[in-house]
Amino acid sequence: MQGAGGRAVARREAPVNAIEARGLTRRYGPLLAVDHVSFTVRAGEIFGFLGPNGAGKSTTVRMLTGYIAPSEGTALLDGHDIVRDGVAARQRLGVVPEEASVYQDLTVWQNVMLMAELYAVPRARRTRHGGDLLALFGLDARKADKGRSLSKGLRQRLMLCMALVGEPTILFLDEPTTGLDVASARLIRETVSRLNREQGLTVFLTTHNLEEANELCHRVGIIHRGRLAVVDTPYALRGTIEARRSVEVTFAEPLEIMPEIDDPEVEVEPFAGATGVRIFTRAPGRIAQEIGVWATRQGLRIESIATRTPSLEEVFLAVTGARARGAEAGR
């Protein structure tokens, strides 16, 4: 198997669960920022952790990486308790914290070597692996440049090099592509995906970018107001809101009347300047057939017709919106 920089690596022996959060709780005075959050991330999985601003994502990551102590609960990382055996647990991690930066006064190479030394990577290996990583992330030409001279995208690439040079089994990425140029964001996504595929690297990804989570993650968890609302695969989550499945039909001319469908649960909305209709339904196949029949009767020409499953964004809004409404109703 080829490693990040083309080197041969052996797939590591690891427990089935790379991360096991057990009732993680964080209080700030009267504020309950994270409320008894429990979940597992399997070894070799990319796990997306989603939630609105202030939901408790970064606080959870900071507890998982040992930066802050939980008020209650703990987490096992590759079988090591982050509270009681923090050093051994952290040896397994590569971390790119939210809004973190590189050492501005060190060169690109010095930044990478510093992290390798902190992870006690032997000299020959860190030199080779560091060079491979810089090449992989397109930074080899900037090796001698100071951290302060890098653009945000290049800094983020360097931070990934720094996180990976310690040869972690679990990679924590907190909003890794936020505010980046398209090329850097794409490179980061592709590389993370490749490392996961080829080396079995477990990735814990927090992101606001639902498309990114949909593209990368095997499973996602949605946290809202400190509580874990749901954990499942993106596909299964989309399936949980069947009422948001839809049929999109566009016609050759603008519609003068809207289609009439004999189903009280169906919701019809126009789009594309009234030449199209979007029909939300639990049975998009049947509705597509009915629309075809209706259009024929009306003498309308259909340009295109497609069925859609809900996006992860719609799932997110449904989960967090529903919970917000529930919380308000409970007051």
């Binding site: 930066y67 971390v95 060190l106 992290m115 996180a163 310690g166």
Partner: protein, 256 residues
């Protein structure tokens, strides 16, 4: 038990990580403006302001100048590091690396102590070269400089444990603590010549023990036996680092 999990192996590994942290600190912080200002320029001008115009033989000024150099330079690095790293957003990654809190603090202490010890060579060299001062006890000189640098480095590490990401705030606090100490620790006037109340306050200052060892090493009368000064400096260093670790742990428990 594997070598990595054996307590001796764990300690050895953390000691190596402390050296890595110290190396990083030296590369980044030795040339920062606050370190140059408060660690090098400030004590020189402070001492000149006191010494110029006084009818004191130049050789008699060497012990005070040397102790001042160790004190100010070693205690200037530590307060800067943690707040600077918090402000520059590099601290979280360091804290989530396999380096334990103790290794990080020890690394900061090593960097500060090394800076203080090396900087002290300048006034020592100048003093020995251009004045009548001469070393009568190299052991006491070494003890005074090295243990003093460690104790003052530890003081800096303690000051940096304050919950802030503003280096200027910690540097201000640092000067608030450091400046009064130089008046009660026998830097300008030997401890034995100070009023009784001032001597008692001076016993609580780590700088007093460093000054005493340095004065004795250059042939002046000592107030304390050397083992008392050495033990006091070691004790202050241990207490400062332990207190700093306690404050950092409390902050992690508080989640800030």
């Amino acid at each position: 038990m594997s070598r990595d999990r054996h307590p001796a192996g764990v300690w050895a590994r953390q000691a190596r990580l402390a050296v890595v942290v110290a190396k990083k600190d030296a590369m980044i912080y030795y040339l920062k403006a606050p370190v140059i200002t408060f660690g090098l320029i400030f004590p020189v001008f402070f001492f000149l302001a006191f010494a110029i115009g006084r009818a004191v033989p130049p050789g008699a000024l060497v012990p005070g100048m040397l102790a001042m150099a160790v004190f100010f330079s070693a205690s200037a690095v530590g307060p800067l590091i943690t707040p600077w790293e918090r402000q520059a957003r590099t601290y979280e990654r360091l804290a989530t690396s396999p380096a334990s809190l103790e290794a990080i603090l020890l690394g900061d202490l090593l960097a500060a102590a090394a800076f203080g010890a090396v900087v002290s060579l300048i006034p020592l060299g100048l003093g020995l070269a251009v004045t009548s001062a001469h070393v009568v006890s190299p052991g006491r000189l070494l003890g005074g400089v090295v243990l003093g640098a460690v104790a003052f480095g530890a003081l800096g590490v303690l000051l940096a444990a304050r919950d802030t990401d503003a280096p200027s705030e910690v540097m201000m606090l640092s000067n608030l603590v450091r400046l009064p100490l130089i008046f009660v620790s026998g830097v300008f006037v030997p401890l034995a010549d100070l009023p009784a109340w001032s001597q008692w306050v001076g016993f609580l200052s780590p700088l007093s023990y460093c000054v005493d060892l340095v004065r004795a090493s250059l042939g002046e009368a000592a107030v304390f036996p050397p083992w008392v000064s050495a033990s006091a400096l070691t004790g202050f260093a241990a207490a400062f680092v332990a207190l700093a670790a306690l404050l950092h742990r409390r902050r992690r428990r508080a989640g800030t």
